[in-house]
Amino acid sequence: MKLTLKIWRQKNADDPGRMVPYELDDVSPDMSFLEMLDVLNERLIVEGEDPVAFDHDCREGICGMCSLVIDGTPHGPQQATTTCQLHMRHFKDGDVITIEPWRAAAFPVIKDLVVDRSAFDRIIQAGGYVSAPTGSAPEAASIPVPQADAHAAFDAATCIGCGACVAACPNASAMLFTAAKITHLGLMPQGQPERYGRVTAMVAQMDAEGFGGCTNTGECTAVCPKGIPFETISRLNADLLKATRKAS
């Protein structure tokens, strides 16, 4: 297939950046989206131009590095799929595809399509852990966990921290990411001692990083490649209300 790509090019954080169009012939429908960009980059290198910088690592949909907004949707048109697992068969000959980085003040662009997601690390550092020494993997049944809680916690724990939720949110809020960790640890017995301090600290860090506020639009969960459920946000809100009551 023949495609027209409109790609965001930005030399560094200080460069204002701009959209640059590229024509690409002979795209196979079996290529992944990132392989298609590899082909473009090989051509740019041969032509002596600067290749397009984009984040990627495992290319198996589990590391959370790939981060492209494709035609206005983070990770592109295929639901519950990371960019690396998106294949060109979902596009057709002659398509014009717009490729942009995650857009958020808290995720500054490093170069082209690569953004700095350290803000997520700092939210986790603020409380997304348990201090109890857990040692090696314990006997599975030694700490009983209700089946429903185990499932809900596991669903939340599948978050790969890619940041698509922030990219999709009209408010650029990091609520789904933060809520996934709050839910994961809040449903486990090991997470109980720090439960209410954790939610206060993580929400405070989220606000300090300059993310927007949540208005429950649901755009985050719709683009999440891991399908983190929307209820995690309500669980965070419940914990936060309780933490506020306990503090006062």
Partner: protein, 211 residues
């Protein structure tokens, strides 16, 4: 946002039930309007309860707007560079996307509504007329544009509640995957009942059932 919104929704339900008294006839409706002012008498002086309600509502509206404006400002700061491609909505919920603009239109409507039926400044009958006569004069067929504005505003309130109520449940921590269908249904039902209740008055006045 959720708490001030809840106060306003409770008020809207009471206001709607009061409005429906117009169908019981002129005397019943005017008597009800008078009772609003004498509520609590003789334990408290004339208009005490009503004044308290007015103060609570004003504070709720101001705090509700303050929350909305700060959220909108935060959102703008949080995304300084916008997407070149039009961000495609994955949720496809019209109500969610008219909260901010809809809220502004509702505010303008409320200001006009108070000038019209509370102060009578823009009412065809003036401020001294009886409540029932003001309503009938307002929604007479010759003032079709007032009826239309009223209906558009009330429908916008309905959309506002459709997302607002559901969002409030989520904010208060009641949202769970197995409850979402029920909560959506509850929000939609309350929104629909409020819209129908409020719209019934001007429509029935315009077609002459209430005169």
């Amino acid at each position: 946002m959720a708490v001030t919104g809840a106060i306003l929704v409770l008020y809207l339900i009471a206001h709607m039930i009061g409005n429906l008294k117009v169908f019981l006839g002129r005397d019943d409706f005017n008597h009800y309007a008078h009772w609003l002012r004498t509520m609590g008498e003789p334990a408290v002086p004339y208009r005490t309860v009503l004044t308290i309600i007015e103060i609570v509502l004003t504070v709720a509206v101001i705090l509700h707007m303050w929350s909305a404006v700060s959220l909108a400002r935060r959102a703008r700061r949080a995304r300084p560079v916008r997407y070149a491609a039009r961000p495609t909505t994955q949720e496809h919920r019209y109500a969610t996307h008219v909260m901010r603009y809809g809220g502004v239109v509702i505010l303008l409507f409320v200001i006009w509504h108070l000038l019209d039926l509370t102060f009578g400044a823009v009412n065809p009958k003036g401020g001294d007329a009886q409540p029932y006569d003001k309503i009938v004069a307002d929604f007479a067929p010759s003032h079709w544009y007032i009826t239309l504005f009223y209906i558009v505003a009330v429908v916008l309130v309905g959309f506002h509640l459709r997302h607002g109520l559901w969002s409030a449940f989520q904010t208060l921590g009641w949202g769970r995957q197995n409850r979402y269908r029920g909560l959506r249904l509850l929000a939609d039902t309350v929104a629909a009942v409020i819209v129908l209740g409020f719209v019934s008055v001007p429509v029935l006045v315009t077609i002459g059932v209430v005169s």
